[in-house]
């Protein structure tokens, strides 16, 4: 009787299992579909890879719409084929985990590996800084909390530094290029564990996984502490769901046998949540909120878990992050409760820039809203089919818990993006619940076609949203050579100034130099407005002059493109470059297609 009740609830949750005898029928009648799915998968990856390897275009010609504007058509054909092949596998074949897993791994490769194949060096200015921090840790065996915020939460850089030194890796550039693919592949296991604790229909699980990846445009999965923090976040929640299926456990003779089942994951969860604290500032806070939310709605989950994590966060802040909090505590506390300001900073201030960039920003908002709407519709469908019993309260808790974040921190205007990212696993599951999957009489080829269409729409949105800033995010060998030149000739006290912080810099000798961003020096705006650069160059020269060492200014293509993209005084970097060329204070020492290096002339 109990089993029957569970079956009814499972069916109502959209977890309907195929009717007895249905799977063999599928197997017999769809051998052709299996061959088709296999060929489709191979063809999709093959076409994608060949079109990227044979790419003859110039990434510098990219428009403000981002990578989409230069991608060869084969990439889109490959992605379309993969969607078709995945839906065919999902609808027309008996559930075969290896084939579905292969589709998802191919999706991860296509979505997150495209820049690694196409671009010359790792993308994102922050990636280069992270490489520099890891290099510093590997070389010196120290962290520097006094330098910047990274030194106060150095866990990820210590791991990277340890790995690179132990393995004798000369550089982390290769790892940085493929970091997004690696992290997303690592997210797969905890995602599956999380979803398997909620659903019994493997088709629903794999569709949710697919939606998670194709909606993950936030780009927090590069070589960064938050990417590793997110892995710990997903793993902790996955293990928690696995260890506590939602019913209260009783202690007794039978309980002792079961002890190992829940104690082992709890040991691992405790280690994981504690390990997230030195890695990143925001992730453990969200993990605490999510654990608390799950503990409130689920009787079996130990309520001491979020309390333990909150105490660990507080202890780390008090004992290990004082260097940062000394100067920033007021800023951190002042954000608490200001939801409106956080949202305004996160949304309104980002809707600015060139027309192409504005389109990209709107696509990001539209894609996020679309996923949110699909999730709400999925919830409504579950409610309509099975009432409140059809919805797992823990999943609702995981979807809503990140909404608390904007009330705590604006996080430099990024908190909305981060909240969406933290909610994405739950949103993707609810979105997947919207679709009528095989196993019931109402599922049909038309539903399959409609699902494929929705997945294609999400992928189209992803292409714009994820890689819409690529014009500024990608770097070239020539740009890196300019910075390599600086690191080769610089003395420890040399100062390096760049036109804009969007540069592939600080990947070496992180702690040894002083770094200056020219367009943050007072006088830049006035020089841009008036076109009179002499006064500004005098200010810049005074800022970077050191009696005992040469200092340098580097102007790069990516700095120019970043400023053009966000509409912050377009053409200003070009004007700055011209002023440097004609100035008698500076001397050009290196110039190539994408970069210019100038140094201060020696004072007589």
């Amino acid at each position: 009787m109990a089993r029957e009740t569970e079956a009814i609830v499972d069916t109502a949750r959209g977890h309907a299992l195929p009717a007895p005898g249905h799977e063999p029928t599928l197997r017999a009648s769809n051998r052709l579909a299996g061959v088709g799915a296999g060929i489709g998968l191979a063809a999709a990856v093959g076409i994608w890879l060949l079109s990227l390897l044979s790419f003859g275009g110039d990434l510098r010609s990219m428009s403000d719409l981002g990578l989409v504007s230069v991608l060869p058509p084969g990439v889109f054909v490959g992605a379309g084929l993969l969607v078709g092949s995945f839906c065919l596998t999902l609808w027309r074949l008996p559930t075969k985990t290896p084939l579905l897993a292969a589709h998802v791994l191919a999706l991860i490769l296509m979505l997150f590996g495209t820049p690694a194949v196409l671009e010359e060096v790792p993308r994102f200015t922050v990636t280069w800084r992270h490489i520099g921090l890891a290099e510093m840790v590997a070389r010196t065996g120290t962290v520097r909390p006094d330098l910047d915020v990274y030194g106060n939460w150095p866990g990820f850089f210590i791991i990277l530094g340890f790995l690179s030194r132990a393995a004798g890796m000369p550089s982390l550039l290769g790892l940085a290029e493929w970091a997004s693919v690696i992290f997303n592949a690592l997210y797969l296991a905890p995602l599956l564990l999380l979803y398997r604790a909620l659903a019994v229909n493997p088709r629903l699980i794999w569709l949710a996984v697919w939606i998670f990846y194709s909606a993950n445009w936030i780009a927090q999965d590069y070589l960064a502490p938050q990417a590793f923090g997110y892995l710990l976040y997903l793993t902790s929640l996955g293990l928690l769901m696995h260890a506590y299926p939602g019913t209260a456990r009783r202690w007794g003779r039978e309980g002792y046998v079961a002890w190992r089942r829940w104690a082992a994951p709890i040991v691992l969860i405790l280690v994981l949540v504690a390990a997230s604290v030195p890695v990143h500032q925001l992730t453990p806070v969200q993990l605490t909120i999510s654990l608390a939310a799950v503990a409130v709605v689920s009787r079996g989950v130990p309520r001491a878990l979020p309390i333990f994590l909150a105490c660990t966060i507080a202890a780390w802040a008090v004992f290990m992050a004082t260097a940062y909090l000394d100067g920033h505590l007021t800023n951190v506390i002042s954000d608490v409760g200001k939801v409106g300001a956080s949202v305004e900073e996160g949304v309104q201030e980002r809707v600015a820039g060139s027309e192409g960039h504005l389109f990209v920003v709107r696509m990001r908002l539209a894609l996020s809203c679309f996923i949110g709407l699909l999730a709400v519709a999925g919830c409504v469908r579950l409610l309509a089919r099975g009432g409140t019993a059809a919805i797992d309260r823990r999943l609702i808790a995981l979807a809503l818990a990140p909404a608390v974040l904007p009330a705590i921190q604006s996080y430099g205007g990024e908190v909305g993006l981060r909240a969406f990212f933290f909610a994405l696993p739950a949103l993707a599951y609810f979105a997947a619940s919207l679709f009528q999957l095989p196993g019931s009489s109402t599922s049909s080829l038309r539903v399959m076609a409609a699902t494929a269409a929705v997945l294609l729409v999400i992928l189209a949105g992803f292409a714009f949203a994820r890689y819409g800033n690529e014009k500024a995010d990608f770097f070239t060998h020539d740009e890196v050579r300019a910075f390599e030149y600086f690191y080769d000739v610089a003395s420890p006290t040399s100062v390096l100034a760049v036109a804009d912080s969007n540069s592939s810099w600080r990947f070496k000798q992180y702690e040894q130099h002083e770094y200056v961003v020219a367009n943050r020096i007072e006088g830049w705006d006035e020089a841009v407005q008036t076109g009179e650069w002499d006064g500004f160059l005098a200010l810049l020269a005074a800022e970077i002059y050191r009696a005992d060492a040469s200092s340098y200014v580097i102007v790069t293509r990516s700095a120019q493109d970043a400023i053009e993209l966000i509409g912050n005084k377009p053409g200003s970097v070009d004007a700055f470059e011209q002023a440097l060329r004609s100035s008698d204070r500076f001397r050009i020492v290196l110039e190539n297609r994408d970069a210019l290096v100038a140094t201060l002339r020696k004072r007589s």
Partner: protein
């Protein structure tokens, strides 16, 4: 493959990678092979031992993924400990870790080989 055979796999993998790591360190080989072996050892073996010893069991793919996550956490704890203790020496720590994991895996393998009813088998319940 018998259940005992499956149990043996992880011990063989750990001992193999740890031995290779130690051998390449002794030779002082700076090649790409050493990098691959040491990275593979560090990102798989500590976590695999931990996950197995606390008694977690998943599918093969999930086992590997959890081992990688747990390994990174363990490396973080060890590396952070040595860094804050002013004893930063990743090469020496890696070699010591390899030796330690060989012993743990070998001890586990011996316990497993005693057959059903042994202490190790009891822990797998």
């Amino acid at each position: 493959m018998t259940s005992r055979g499956i149990l043996w796999r992880w011990q063989v993998l750990v001992i193999l990678l740890a031995d290779l790591t130690l051998a390449l360190a002794l030779i002082g080989d700076p090649s790409v092979l050493r990098r691959v072996v040491v990275v593979a050892f560090l990102v798989i073996c500590p976590g695999l031992c931990f996950v197995r010893l606390v008694g977690l069991r998943f599918e093969l793919l999930a086992d590997i993924a959890y081992s990688v996550t747990a390994s990174l956490v363990i490396i973080g704890i060890i590396a952070g400990g040595t860094l804050y203790a002013d004893a930063w020496s990743p090469e020496d720590v890696t070699n010591s870790l390899a030796a330690l994991l060989i012993m743990i895996a070998a001890a586990s393998a011996v316990t497993t080989s005693r057959g059903p009813g042994s202490a190790h088998q009891g822990r797998q319940q």
